[in-house]
Symmetry: C2
Subunit: 238 residues, 2 copies
């Protein structure tokens, strides 16, 4: 049987080069949207409603029962929202049973850019294994879409794409140089993701805000190991 293809898109600015509509897409925003999503749902959040705008976030937060508004702009809590984008904030005793309305600089923006994909899956190191296990059984073209930082390539999202490819390389075919590069980078970094990412642009940005523990948490493989999909405007565990 012919294997399905796997490709990696390094920046939302390049997504139009890919056939999104006929593919499954994994959205990747390691620092920190998809890590926050994995943590909040893993710790019992009912669902997450991603929105691309702070005002919309506030509005929905007022409308939806039992909700929490959260999000960041430029790495810090956005004005008017209750919480930021720190995965380690979303502990079970706070988030279990709640609906999280979330907006982030890059992650939610990417999500809306790929909204016509066959399926949209949210991937992070925290839920790498569950994501790979599900995708290994899907016989459809797959695009690993990095949220990047304001359209600029970043190391952490690319590294995750490489890690995911590493688990899928026997069941998918690739002729995508971005995918090859991501896998090469992962081969260099796999024994210590956190150390490798310490020399990264967004790492440096967030570390200055005192978020080092948060970044360490984002590098924990399979610590919140659930398959997460975006369907009908919501992110939920499947």
């Amino acid at each position: 049987m012919k294997k399905p293809t796997i490709e990696c898109c390094l920046s939302p600015a390049l997504i139009d080069l890919y056939n999104v509509e006929e593919s499954n897409v994994v959205i990747i925003d390691i620092f920190r949207a998809t890590s926050t999503i994995a943590a909040a749902l893993g710790n019992g959040a009912n669902k997450i409603i991603p929105v691309d705008d702070v005002q919309e976030c506030i509005k929905l937060g007022a409308e939806i029962e039992n909700s929490v508004t959260a999000g960041e702009r430029n790495g810090q809590i956005a004005e008017g929202l209750q919480y930021g984008n720190s995965p380690s904030t979303y502990k079970a005793d706070f988030i279990a049973g709640k609906n999280l309305v979330l907006t982030t600089t890059n992650g939610t923006r990417l999500l809306y850019k790929v909204k016509h994909a066959q399926e949209i899956i949210s991937g992070a190191f925290l839920n790498l294994g569950a994501t790979a296990q599900y995708l290994a059984k899907q016989n459809k073209p797959l695009i690993l879409a990095c949220a990047s930082w304001k359209d600029r390539f970043n190391l952490e999202d690319t590294l995750f794409a490489g890690a995911l490819y590493n688990q899928l390389k026997e069941v998918y075919d690739t002729d995508c140089d971005s995918m090859r590069a991501a896998h090469h980078l992962y081969s260099l970094a796999k024994n210590n993701l956190f150390e490798f990412l310490r020399d990264g642009a967004h790492f440096n940005r967030l570390e200055k805000y005192g978020l080092t523990d948060d970044l360490k948490y984002c590098c924990k493989v399979d610590a919140q190991n659930n398959l997460i999909k975006f369907q009908d405007g919501e992110l939920r565990i499947f």
Copy 2:
């Protein structure tokens, strides 16, 4: 003294994210425009006039004395032109003293996208050393711009960016993850560039056209070691 910055742009589709006008820019199209440029000038071509259109290439070829028209579309000789984009074609007994009018799929397109840069330098493995030596003395922001393949990231251009950075890292500062990734990839590939690039999308494309020797030649470090700049519409040795 504060060091100038160095950044890497992985695709022409991302070039608007960079401050081109205040920077020196190295254009990189290893397979094969900037390798052809290095070979033809190294073997005595008088100058190269890059044009972005096949018809314009034919027209200029008819107007300019002692000229040769050359170029490719999709990796093969473009209809109506005399020669292709094979660096190994441009031997001294053929090209010395001639004016080459050249159009390529990605390289010349990138060149016109960065035309407002402070200086434009043409870089390839063939002239890596001379390029690095010149840039080490320039106290200006530097952008290493990969021509890529129809806006898609490719391994060979990125690898060259990493090789150039490797020679410049003591004199430039970077906070660019693309630059870091290019350098990591180079660290994996440096002992055998050709072998590393054998598993690459454009390599596979060109190998099918029987161009393997050409690709081997493109990986020869410092084999045509001249500084090449684009000035007043022409590429020449400086």
